[in-house]
C-alpha cells in the first residue's frame, strides 16, 4: 500500500494551523509542544515539507522558548503551563531536530537543577516537582533530556560501581565494555537503573510503570531504552555474562540469569503481534498503531544489543590489551547508522550475507548483472549498507542522493515490502501493512486502528514504526532517543548501542 506522504503533510499543517475553531485544538493545548514534535518529526522522517512557509526554524524556536517555565526551570506543554518532564523532553527534541539547542543556553543551568530535583532517593524519576507521580516514562524522558543537554558521559572502567548489580559475576569473565557505564553529574545513574529493574516483572518478562505494576507495551520502550542509554542493559540482559554464574547440576532454573530474562522478554514481544499484523500493548488487548513504536523500539534495541554481545563474546576469546579494546569500541561506536542496518539480521545472518556479497564481487558480472530485477531488494540494500560501512568516511551527500535514486528505481519493480528488515520474532511485513492500513485516505494522518480518527500522536508513532522496521520511504530513527538517526549521530548521544 502507498504511503500517503502528501496527505500526511496536509494533515499536519491543518492540525497545526487551521483548526482553531475546533475544541480539540484548545483542549489539546496542554500537550502542544509534544504535538508539535510529533508532527514536525514525522515530516522529517517522511522527508517532506522542508521548504514549507509554515515551518521555519525561527518559528519553532520562538514557540519552544515561549513554553519555558522560568519559575521551575523546565518546559510546559504550552505558554504559561507548568514545567513537566514530558513536555521538556518534547521541547528539547524539537530543538535538537532543528539544530537550535544553543538558543536555550541561558536556561541550561536552571533546567539542569530542575531535572536534578526530579530524582527521588530510590532512583525513580518524578514528572514534575508539584505532581509527585513516579513512572518509568519519566525515567526515559530524563535520559533523553540529559543526553540532549550533553549531561551523559561514558565512565572509565576504573570507576566501576558493583553495588548496582543484583547478581555477582566473576569480574574477570565480564567483557570490559559492560563496565563502561553511563554517568551523569545531574542524577545517580546506578540508582536510576536499579529502580527500572525493580519494575521488571519476573512473571512475564515485561516492565511495569512502577514496582509491582503490570507489564505494559509503552514501558518496554521506556525501560529498555533507559537502560540502553544508561549502558546497563548488558548487565541485566547479556546472556554471555552468566556462563560463570550458572549453577551446575541444580534443578532450579535461575530466574535472575540474563539469558533467562532475555528469552522471557522476547517471548513477551513475540506474543504482542496479532493476526492482523498490528501489535497490542498487553495480552488480550486490541491492536494499536502506537505500539509499532513503543514495542518495536525496545525490541530492536534488544536485538541489536544481542548481536553486539555476540560479537563481543566472539572477540573476547582472543586476549587483547585494554587499550586496544577501548580503541576497538570507539571504532565500533562510530558507524552507528550503518551498523544499525547491519546488525538487524534476524534469521538472516549478516556475516554470511557479507560473505555472499563478497563472493558476488569476485564474480562481478554474476548475480547482479545477470538478472538485476530478480535480485531481492533486501539483500541489495544491505549490500549498500555494508559498502557504505566500508567506505564509511567517504559518504557524502551525493552518495545519499544516489542511494535515494537507486532505491526509488528499485521500488518500482518490486513492492516496498521486500525492503523491510527481517523482524525475527515479529513479522514486520504484516506490521507494515497494518500501519499503512491505518492511514486516513481522505484527510491524511494515521489512526490507532483502521477507520478510527487520525491524530498527530498516532501519525508520528506510525511513521516512527515504519522507520524502525526499515521502510525505505521513511528516514531512519533512533530507537532510544525517538529522534532521526542523523540527528542522534550529529549530537553524538550516548547509549550502549
Amino acid at each position: 500500500m502507498e504511503l500517503l506522504k502528501e496527505k500526511h503533510y496536509e494533515f499536519i499543517i491543518s492540525e497545526s494551523y487551521k483548526s482553531e475553531d475546533k475544541f480539540s485544538f484548545w483542549w489539546s493545548e496542554y500537550l502542544r509542544v509534544s504535538g508539535c514534535f510529533w508532527g514536525l518529526s514525522a515530516l522529517y522522517l517522511l522527508d517532506i515539507g522542508k521548504d514549507s512557509e509554515y515551518i521555519t526554524k525561527e518559528k519553532v524556536v520562538e514557540f519552544v522558548k515561549s513554553c519555558y517555565d522560568k519559575k521551575a526551570g523546565g518546559f510546559g506543554g504550552f505558554q504559561g503551563h507548568d514545567a513537566h518532564i514530558l513536555y521538556s523532553t518534547s521541547a528539547l527534541q524539537l530543538l535538537a531536530l532543528f539544530d537550535a539547542l544553543d538558543s536555550i543556553e541561558e536556561y541550561k543551568p536552571d533546567i539542569l537543577s530542575w531535572l536534578s530535583s526530579l530524582q527521588r532517593s530510590d532512583g525513580s524519576i518524578r514528572g514534575s516537582v508539584t505532581d509527585g507521580d513516579v513512572d518509568n516514562r519519566f525515567s526515559m524522558c530524563m535520559m533523553i533530556c540529559l543526553s540532549i543537554l550533553g549531561q551523559l558521559s561514558i565512565d572509565k572502567p576504573s570507576n566501576l560501581d558493583e553495588k548496582g548489580s543484583d547478581h555477582c559475576h566473576d569480574t574477570s569473565s565480564v567483557p570490559s565494555k559492560s563496565f563502561l557505564y553511563t554517568t551523569s553529574p545531574i542524577i545517580d545513574c546506578s540508582k536510576a537503573a536499579e529502580f527500572i529493574m525493580s519494575c521488571y516483572n519476573e512473571t512475564d518478562g515485561g516492565f511495569g510503570a512502577r514496582p509491582g505494576a503490570e507489564s505494559h507495551g509503552g514501558q518496554m520502550y521506556c525501560c529498555i531504552g533507559s537502560l540502553c542509554a544508561l549502558r546497563r542493559l548488558g548487565q541485566y540482559f547479556n546472556p554471555y555474562l552468566d556462563h560463570s554464574s550458572k549453577l551446575k547440576g541444580s534443578s532450579h532454573v535461575s530466574c535472575s540469569s540474563c539469558s533467562h530474562r532475555l528469552t522471557k522478554t522476547y517471548l513477551w514481544f513475540s506474543e504482542r503481534q496479532l493476526p492482523c499484523g498490528g501489535l497490542n500493548g498487553r495480552p488480550e488487548k486490541k491492536e494499536d498503531v502506537c505500539y509499532s513504536w513503543w514495542l518495536i523500539s525496545g525490541y530492536s534495541i534488544l536485538r541489536k544489543m544481542e548481536s553486539i554481545w555476540t560479537l563481543e563474546s566472539d572477540t573476547e576469546s582472543t586476549q587483547e590489551d585494554d587499550k586496544e579494546k577501548d580503541d576497538k569500541e570507539k571504532e565500533k561506536e562510530e558507524p552507528t547508522p550503518e551498523q544499525q542496518q547491519l546488525d538487524d539480521g534476524g534469521y538472516i545472518d549478516y556475516l554470511s550475507l557479507q560473505r555472499f556479497i563478497l563472493s558476488c564481487q569476485d564474480i562481478e558480472s554474476g548475480g547482479i548483472a545477470d538478472r538485476p530485477e530478480d535480485m531481492p531488494d533486501l539483500i541489495l540494500r544491505k549490500m549498500e549498507s555494508i559498502w557504505t560501512l566500508e567506505s564509511d568516511t567517504e559518504s557524502t551527500q551525493e552518495d545519499d542522493k544516489e542511494k535515494d535514486d537507486k532505491e526509488k528505481e528499485k521500488e518500482e519493480p518490486t513492492p516496498e515490502q521486500q525492503q523491510l528488515d527481517d523482524g525475527g520474532y515479529i513479522d514486520y511485513l504484516s506490521l507494515q501493512r497494518f500501519i499503512l492500513s491505518c492511514q486516513d485516505i481522505e484527510s491524511g494522518g494515521i489512526a490507532d486502528r483502521p477507520e478510527d480518527m487520525p491524530d498527530l500522536y498516532h501519525l508520528f508513532f506510525g511513521v516512527a514504526g515504519l522507520a524502525l522496521i526499515g521502510d525505505p520511504r521513511v528516514k531512519r530513527i533512533s530507537p532510544i532517543y525517538a529522534l532521526p538517526q542523523e540527528i542522534v549521530d550529529r549530537l553524538m548521544l550516548v547509549s550502549e548501542l
Binding site: E214, V253, L351, R355, D452
Partner: protein
Amino acid sequence: MHGIKKGDKTFEVSQETITKYRKLVKLVFARKAAKKYDDQTLMLTKTVLGLNKEFYSLWNYRKDAISSRLRDEVDFEKDEKDKEEESSKESETYSLLPELISSELKFTEAFIAKNAKVYPVWDHRMFLIITLWNRYATHSVKESLRTVFRDILENEISLCSKCLSVDGRNFHCWNYRTEIRKMYENEIYLHYKDQITTTWESYCSELKDVALSDLEFTQSMIKSNFSNHSAWHRRSGALKLLFKASLLEICGYDDYLFIPTYSAPLSKFIELVSDHSMIIKLTEVISDRIKLEYEFSQAAFYVLPDDESSWRFIVWLLRDAEWWNDNLDTFRSEILASFWTMVEELIKLEDSAKWPKLSILLLSELLINYNGEKKTVDVFRKDDVFLAFYYKNTKMGGDGGTIATKRDVVVQQIRERLGESVFKGQSLYTCSISGKPLEEGNICVDKLGNLFCYDVILKNLIDKSMPLRFSHISTRKNVIRINSKVFQHGILCELSKSVLSKSNPFFVYSPCGCACAKGLCEQIIGFEMEISPQKDMIVCPACRLKYLERIEIGS
C-alpha cells in the same frame, strides 16, 4: 485518537463553549500567577477541568491550593495551641480527613466514574492520599486515628473494585490499587514499629490479611474473566506477600527481617532460614498454597485453553517463582508430574491450542530434570512448526534459545496468502524452502549456507516460483549439490563422520560437493601448510580435488 471512530462528534462543542473555555483558562492562569488559593480558585479550576480533564497545570494549581490551605490550618492550630498550652486533647479535635480533602476526593471520584483512564486524575488522587498519609504518619497520637486512616484506605480499595468491575484491565486503576496496598504495608509497619518485639504475631497476621484479601479479590476478578492478565499479575504479587508474611511468622521476631516487606526479594529471606523445623513449616505453607493456586488455574486452562495469562502465571509459578528451594523438590516433582498429565489430556482435547504445548516447552528443562526427556517430544505433532523450532533451539545448546511462537503462525498465514512457502529460519536439517527433511543425494546449498532439497530448487526454478528471499538463486549453478552421506537428516562429515550441528559447522567445497567439519578442515590445512607451504594449496581435504569455492554451513 484512541478508539474514537471517524465521524464521532462527541469532541465537538459549540463556538460559545470554546470562547467561554478560553476566557476561563485565561482567568485561571492569571489567578495562578497571583497565587490565589481561595474557594473561587477551586470553583474555577473545577469548571475548566470538567471540560478538560488532562489539564495538568490546573491539577497542579489545585494541589498548590490544597497544600497551602492545609499549611495555614496547621499554623492556625499551632497558634491556638500556643495560646492554650494546657490543651492536650489534640487528637480529639484533630481531623485526619479535613473537609477540604474529602470534598476533593469526591470531586476526583466523579471524574473517575466518567473516564477512568486519565493520568492526572489518578495522580491527583494519589497526591491526596499521600497528603493524608503524611498527616497521619507525622501526628503524635496515631492510635485513635488508625481506624480513620484504615477506613480511608479501605474506601480507596472499594473505589478501585468498583472501577475494575467496569473495566477489569484498567492499568491506571490497578497501579493505583497496588500503591494503596503498599501504603497498607507501610501503615502496618508504622503501627507496629515501636513495640515490635511484643507484637510480632499481630504484625505478621495483619500483613497476611492484606495478601489474603488481594488473593480473594483477584480470584473473583479472574473467575469473571479468565483472561484478565492484570488480575493474574496482581495475584502473583499477592502470593509473594503472603509467603513473605508466612515466613516472618514462622521465623519469629528478628531485627533483620523487620523491614518494609516489598523492598526485598523473598529468596534472600529464605536463605537466612536455617532452623530445620522452621524449614519444614515453611515448606508446608508454600506447597499447600501452590497446590491451591495450581487447582485454581487448572479451571482457567479448561475454560480458555489458549489464553496467554493463565499459562504465563503457571509457568511463573512452577518455574520462575523465587521461593523454590531444595526442600521443595519432592513437592515440585509431584506437581510437575500432575501438570504434565493434565496438559497431555488437554492437548488431546484441544489439539490446536498453542499455549499448553508452549508451557510444556517453557517448563521442559524442569520436566526433564524431574521426569526424563523422552516424554516431552511425544507431546508435539509434527506440524507444530513453531514449537519444534523452539524446542530445537533450546536443545541445540543455544543459550537461552529462540522462541518462535505466534509470529510463526502469523507469518505462515501471510506467506500462505502470498503463495510463498513457510519461512522457518536457517535450518540445518530441513529444506529452507519446503521444510522437508533433508535426504541423502538430494541436498544442495547456496552461497549463503542455506540448505535445500535439490528437487525443490529445480521445481521452483522451472515454475519460476522461487521465494523472494532466495531469488539470488536464478540458475542451477547458483547452488552446490552436496554428495556427503546423511544420518537422520543431518549431513555427515566426509572425514570424521560427525554430524553437522550449530556447534559443529561444516565447509562445503565446490565443485566436488564434499562436506567436512570446519574444525577438522582447518586443522588439516594448517598441518599441510606446515609440511609443504605452497601458496596455491587449495584442495578439498576429502577428495583432494582443487576447489573453487568453500561455503560454510551451520555457523
